[in-house]
């Protein structure tokens, strides 16, 4: 089996998951203008919801997944409503929002650890049951191909929605200037609520995909978030398709690094990418 092809396939799958993370992250960022650190934990909560319905309650796979996505969305929506909105209305500084979201991240991770232990758990039912395809000498499982297709569908759908629907135009208006948006009659608070629901639901998909692909652990929330942030910065923050590009680039670098050194250094490598970009190209790879 050709190692280069296997690395490329692994990077493709990781890139697909990171794309989901970054799509949700950029959506949230572009309207609320702050780095929601709780987002990664919400994504993982989606994964754990599937774990609960599918493996513990024994519900059917697809209905569990839909419930998981929905729960992530609702969670994001409620947190925005209870915590971030009051802070925004009183014009709290961005540092306050950031620290509050750090608290959200910590709380959700702790709750997940209490409910589901901090052990590593996977959503798949053992490696043998998933079919494997061979592509150019590399292996890809059925689950992985579903993840890949999902990411592509979400990416395209989100792009179309943002471009052609009234909702998309309203989101863009808020992203450009919230005050102007409210002057022209857009209820920006309500829109931000909806955006938090959709963004968190997309994050939930990423969390579920992670659960099927590599497995869940409460602390993965932070690392998933960081991947999203890094991809977003590499692609130019707030830029939807730039973020996807960043996600795949990050996945390639990470997988090359993991092959060169060892898998444990993945997070460290991701961070070096982040720092390099922040120092030398803070506006991202795409020209403005």
């Amino acid at each position: 089996m050709d190692i280069a092809i296997q690395i490329a396939l692994n990077a493709l799958i990781a890139g697909a998951i990171y794309s989901l993370v970054v799509l949700g992250f950029n959506l949230l960022y572009s309207t609320s203008r702050f780095f929601d650190l709780g987002y990664g934990a919400i994504a993982i909560a989606g994964g754990y919801a599937v774990l609960y319905f599918y493996k513990l309650l024994g519900l059917e796979l697809w209905s569990s997944i839909i419930l998981g996505i929905f729960i992530a969305g609702i969670l994001g929506f409620c947190i925005e409503k209870i915590i971030y909105r009051p802070l925004r209305t009183r014009k709290a500084s961005s540092a306050v929002l950031l620290i509050a979201s750090l608290g959200v991240l910590t709380v959700i991770q702790a709750v997940l650890a209490i409910l589901f232990t901090s052990q590593f758990q996977t959503l798949g039912r053992g490696a043998g049951e998933s079919r494997t395809f061979e592509i150019f000498g590399g292996a890809i499982t059925q689950t992985q191909s579903i993840i890949l297709i999902t990411a592509l569908v979400v990416m395209t759908a989100l792009g179309l929605v943002l471009k052609y629907t009234l909702f998309g135009k309203a989101v863009k208006a808020i992203a450009d200037d919230e005050e102007v948006a409210s002057i022209v009659g857009i209820n920006s608070e309500r829109m931000i609520g909806i955006v938090f629901f959709i963004g968190s639901a997309i994050g939930g998909m990423a969390g579920i995909a992670t659960g099927f692909d590599t497995g869940l652990q409460p602390t993965i929330g932070l690392s998933l978030l960081l991947k999203g942030v890094i991809a977003a910065i590499v692609g130019g923050i707030g830029n939807v398709y730039g973020g996807v590009l960043g996600a795949f680039l990050l996945a390639i670098i990470e997988n090359l690094g993991a092959w060169q050194f060892s898998g444990e250094w993945k997070d460290a490598i991701a961070f070096i990418v982040l720092v390099v970009f922040l120092l030398f190209r803070p506006q991202g790879i795409l020209p403005k």
């Binding site: 608290g103 932070l222 961070f271």
Partner: protein, 288 residues
């Protein structure tokens, strides 16, 4: 009685960590969650020198502090150029990289197995094997760090730090090369955290990477937000309250795994509630 002494030692250690982090976060406004990384460097370097070379405790501790300071100096040359949320991500990365090294550089740190049987220090022929005697050492260290912290706050340097915290550009216009100031305080903070690390390693007599995770950094961060940013008294009060709370969970009979998660839950909630209702903390002088 033994148990109270144990809690008092913990309060002293977290007091040192809180005071030193307050210099960076509360006085200078650099939102850093890398403190556990420096704490860990101090602990590991001291432990390795004590166990591997049988070095004198104070010499080992001094080298641990210097090592941590050097790392901080090198790293902050890079990350002190980042601002606001990007600085925060830089510090998260720093902590993750430090932790990856503790965990993965197995030939030196023994990875997840940790370093056992670290000798307790002896001074002037007096063996600090007894916890009570160790408490004197810890309390004396806390007093020294408190003195240093107040000394810095009252100096002209401290006033410049406050000025950077609120308007870095204006401070530059006054003629201050602000990046050197940030570098200096970040390094001082890291060195004091390493002091706590050296004490921790010799007190518990065993260290492993799990004591120096990003969650530990978030914990230290939340202690000073609770106590009040920009206040030395607050930077001791906050750790005191949260350490007692945590020990309360253990005392109430939760198993230690759950108690650890309850601690996370508690300080996560503390962060959220403080941001919502009292961003200044208990004795804070600085409203972020």
């Amino acid at each position: 009685m033994e148990y109270l002494i144990h809690i008092a030692v913990l309060v002293c250690l977290y007091g040192i960590l809180g005071l030193s982090l307050n210099l960076v976060v509360g006085e200078t406004g650099l939102i850093s969650v890398a403190h556990a990384g420096f704490y860990g460097i101090g602990a590991y370097v001291t432990a390795l020198l004590l166990v591997g070379l049988g070095m004198n405790f104070f010499l080992a501790m001094a080298l641990g502090i210097i090592a941590s300071g050097l790392v901080a100096l090198l790293i902050s040359g890079v990350i002190s150029r980042l601002r606001g949320v990007y600085f925060l991500f830089g510090t998260i990365g720093l902590n993750i990289i430090a932790w990856s090294i503790f965990l993965n550089w197995q030939s030196v740190t023994r990875g997840p197995l940790g370093i056992p049987s670290i000798p307790r220090p002896g001074i002037w022929g007096l063996d600090l094997y007894q916890n009570l005697q160790f408490l004197f050492l810890a309390a004396a260290s806390l007093a020294i760090v408190y003195f240093i912290s107040v000394f810095i706050k009252k100096s002209s340097f401290g006033r410049v730090l406050n000025s950077i915290r609120e308007d870095e550009e204006a401070t530059q216009i006054f003629g201050y090369a602000t990046s050197y100031y940030k570098l200096a305080i970040f390094t001082i903070g890291a060195m004091l955290a390493a002091l706590a690390g050296a004490l921790f390693a010799t007190y518990i007599t065993y260290i492993d990477p799990s004591s120096f995770t990003i969650n530990e950094s978030i914990f230290i961060f939340s202690t000073i937000v609770l106590g009040g940013l920009g206040s030395s008294r607050g930077a001791v009060l906050g750790p005191l309250l949260l350490v007692f709370l945590f020990e309360g969970f253990r005392f109430a009979g939760f198993p230690s795994e759950i108690a650890a998660q309850m601690r996370m839950l508690a300080y996560g909630f503390a962060l959220v509630l403080l941001m919502l209702y009292r961003p200044k903390g208990i004795w804070g002088t600085f409203r972020i």
